[in-house]
Symmetry: C2
Subunit: 344 residues, 2 copies
């Protein structure tokens, strides 16, 4: 007998045929109760565990989904991954994970996933031009999460970025701010594009003239945030409030504000994105738009699995699912100071 027992071992032990054991285990068709008992006893006795590999090969489906993340290593994407994990677990799938924030790595993982015959893929895309991913997307369902380029998949689970930023703007406007700046990342990813557009739209909705110099984009990093903040805050006509679209840049903005000797929220109101711990522990705790990271992950996993199991009715599915952000008001936002040059 081999190292681990297989169906034929159980069959021999129980004195029945291999297919009978298989049928008992899968509870398919009727099996004589007595034989069934004998089989189950033998399974217990031998400690039989089914081999998913053989099952997968035979059934032409692995029960594995891929998760390819190009996200940064901050908390948001980690929590999102938990959501996917749990959705998979709840539906009997396993997750093989890859992390690739460059096109090269994304391509490597696309090949790997393809080789492992994953049944579907959740992806936070890093680029818009991965030929392997495109090919994969034609063979199996792919769900984009967090960001989209619209190229790979028919389905996506995204934040309602426009509403999120609009909510931030509304909050600041209600406090009395009129000169509001936006700091965002300069890479053409959907989140950044939508957040910027949402900002512009909402400012116009409120009838505020839009000053191009109040929209600053820079690198998607802490350093980018530092540079953008310096640029924005050293204008002749400074803003009284700033919205920052990414957590990474937010950290840089905070550092810059400190180094300029400005006080939050006395001199400047600040709204960030993503409710991480440091945002809560800071002095003062920051007002942010919180993303439902776990829910986004779970929803992406669930949508993918439904998509896998339902490939016929595919067309009926929604293509894009938007989840709302939540404004969490802390102490980094307050009414603007009276500006002497304007009030006198």
């Amino acid at each position: 007998m081999s190292r681990t027992p297989k169906l034929s071992d159980v069959a021999q032990h129980a004195g029945v045929s291999v297919p009978t054991v298989s049928r008992v285990l899968r509870e398919v068709r009727n099996v004589d109760p007595e034989l069934k008992d004998r089989v189950l006893l033998s399974v217990k006795a031998l400690g039989y565990q089914p081999n998913r590999l053989a099952k997968s090969l035979r059934e032409q489906r692995t029960g594995i989904i891929g998760y390819l993340s190009a996200g940064d290593i901050a908390t948001f994407h980690h929590i999102l991954a938990q959501g996917i994990q749990n959705a998979a677990l709840d539906h009997g799938y396993a997750v093989v994970t890859g992390h690739g924030s460059t096109l090269e790595r994304e391509m490597m993982y696309a090949k790997i996933f393809s080789g492992y015959q994953v049944d579907g893929l959740v992806v936070i895309p890093s680029s818009t031009g991965d030929p392997y991913l495109e090919e994969l997307a034609q063979q199996i369902p792919v769900v984009e999460v967090d960001r989209t380029f619209g190229a790979y998949s028919r389905h996506s689970v995204l934040l309602d970025n426009r509403s999120a930023v609009a909510g931030a703007v509304d909050h600041l406007v209600a406090l009395g701010h009129r000169q509001i700046g936006l700091i965002y990342g300069n890479i053409p990813v959907s989140t950044e594009v939508e957040r910027k557009e949402g900002f512009v739209d909402r400012m116009q909705h409120h009838g505020f003239p839009l000053r191009p110099e109040h929209l600053i984009s820079d690198g998607f990093s802490e350093e980018g945030g530092v540079r953008a903040a310096h640029q924005l805050l050293q204008l002749g006509e400074p803003v009284t409030a700033v919205v920052v679209t990414t957590n990474e840049m937010l950290a840089g903005v905070v550092r810059a504000i400190r180094s300029l000797g400005l006080s939050i929220p006395r001199d400047l109101s600040l709204i960030g994105m993503d409710d991480t711990r440091w945002v809560q522990m800071m002095e003062p705790p920051l007002t942010v738009m919180a993303q439902p990271a776990y829910e986004m992950g779970y929803e992406a996993g669930r949508l993918l699995i439904r998509s896998i199991q339902d490939q016929d009715h595919e067309e009926a599915f929604p293509r894009v699912r938007r989840l709302p952000a939540q404004l969490i008001i802390r102490q980094s936002t307050a009414p603007p100071r009276e500006v002497p040059s304007m009030s006198t």
Copy 2:
């Protein structure tokens, strides 16, 4: 022809036999250069991709390793996971991930990994009594990382917890502190045990009398940190410095210190564990013992894969690999204030 081309399709296309194609692709044995070219051309033409499932079934090894994490969702374990991912990628393995911080989920994942025939497993154990994990560990190599119960595996990659805490103590002692408190988690996990022991040993090494009331343990959470800090700081004979063994509790300790109106480091020096962003963004930035999270993950992955590929020489391997922490001095530690009651 089936949906995706297989070896026989390539063979037919190239006008050779199946094993020839296989041999060309695996670059094993000599193949006539002309046939080889024809085969490679056909592979390209058909877009053939090997099916790992069949390969795995045949070879009795999957090239998949499991990663079971019972870690929290803070940054440390996420970075560690990146290390494992990259070690796997570098050696041609894929990673299927599970997250289970309870015994129940740990058992579920152990079964899943077993079913997928993973070649090995890296685990941050959540408990000491998972029968499925124990069984799995007898069949495939298992490496514990971050913490150990010593029950599942012969190998582990851990922080040098004793030295880490000793370094923190030394730093505080050099600043002039004598009354140093320790706040640690009250669950019997190796990290907490070792850190506490390291603290006690080092205090005794310096010849300072150890006061039991200066060693406070509480729940492994922010709330636990709050409670522990209140308990420690409201003693008759208060400490001038505190070492906190976990990031979660550290957040609670900071909150408690603030609510008590104490100033860091004027009234109290503070050293934490784990160099996360919030620790850097805080006012003042905290002095911490930084863990080499990525390296720990990579090392665990590498050790596991070596272990998988080298099952014969297994015995020669080291059982425990300790990686050093690094003291990062920021502004939460300073000499203690002169205590009037003692100096006058």
